[in-house]
Symmetry: C2
Subunit: 227 residues, 2 copies
């Protein structure tokens, strides 16, 4: 540990041991899924960021011939799985029993839980802006959600999440008129400064704004059955 002054603020830095890297297993899973013709997406965000609603909105916009499955990561409940089932989505619930993220062994278990292969699988990760960023899930791409009510100043606070995500999806944009402090411009600037290749979408699952654009970007990763 080191203690030093930075901009007059006393900072105590704590170096954590690097968490177990499951990158090799993740690469193997990605290859295996690609061979089977399955595209897998990883959706991350805080509790209440709107992950479940966004996934439902995305799935609604895919052609009906695309078979789809959802892996619900949740610490304890089956609340989100029930929402998915009500919409007729094939879902496997991963009850992590306290774990704050999803890793490869969990994803393997979940994939085995489906009755067959799917063209498109979405992982709804545990609601958490911290830990899920550290564990490669074996997905082909990752989206992080940041909802307008959470505030725009999250890039500097949770940098790893912005670094590892392929897309930043700003959710609940219908609420922007009520959050005058939400600095969309600075959020975009800071996110791009940290991760220049990150795609940024502004959406509202409530009124559907931006969902078609996001769906097009998802589909562009290549889903079997979509020309």
């Amino acid at each position: 540990m080191e203690s030093f002054l930075e901009n007059e603020i006393r900072v105590v830095s704590i170096k954590e041991e690097v968490l177990a890297d499951n990158k090799n297993a993740a690469d193997a899973m990605r290859d295996s899924l690609s061979e089977k013709g399955t595209l897998m997406a990883n959706v991350m965000g805080s509790p209440g960021a709107g992950k479940t609603e966004l996934i439902l909105g995305l799935l609604d916009r895919l052609p009906s011939n695309v078979s789809r499955g959802v892996i619900e990561g949740d610490i304890a409940s089956t609340v989100d799985s029930q929402k998915m089932m009500e919409k007729g989505v094939d879902v496997v619930q991963l009850r992590t029993g306290g774990a704050c993220h999803i890793d490869i062994p969990m994803v393997e278990q979940a994939l085995d839980g489906f009755d067959g292969e799917h063209d498109f699988v979405v992982i709804e990760n545990v609601g958490n802006l911290v830990c899920p960023a550290e564990f490669d899930t074996g997905a082909h791409f990752s989206m992080m959600l940041l909802s307008v009510p959470e505030g725009w100043d999250k890039v500097l606070k949770y940098p790893l999440m912005f670094t590892v995500s392929d897309a930043l999806v700003i959710t609940k944009c219908d609420l922007l008129p009520f959050f005058e402090d939400f600095n969309l411009c600075s959020l975009r600037e800071q996110a791009k400064a940290l991760n220049p290749s990150i795609e940024i979408f502004e959406v509202s699952s409530k009124n559907g704004d931006g969902l078609n654009e996001l769906t097009e970007w998802v589909v562009a990763h290549g889903i079997r059955g979509i020309a």
Copy 2:
């Protein structure tokens, strides 16, 4: 790992090893703080739940003779510490370097970072509804924040946080008119069912509603210099 059917949802349960228990060290810290006449509070909540604003609102309402310090837990930035400093609050920033929670060794370092003893110390934990619940910080009591925009259905999803907290502070209540789905009654019911002794407060840091009541509850834990 076990796989079974529950309400027709396929559930894969994953038992995690119990995370390192620092309970003994926490008890020792509580005793040591009590001997010195310091009351310490632990504030937890998701990113954007309004932790920093709530702490500032609480400190504002304490008599000026109460010396106070804030320990800012943050993964990477000093954004919140800067806000505290601007308000003249004695603050020590804990940069956790990726760690998703604050534990006793970190709190010890932070307390050493203050120039002297304080009557009241507040820990602003890392923005996370999961991991901080697992680590006793050595504080005398814990408050968890849940903001209205996050949604009311968090008790079943993040039960440990509700179990270990002495108070549930529902923040951003000025936004309730815009969140008609927010089921305050069910949230109260579920929280009390899980943790019958939890105190529940409805506040708005924006307009100050509920902050006096919360401050009274905090003060009732015993702060030196307040009769």
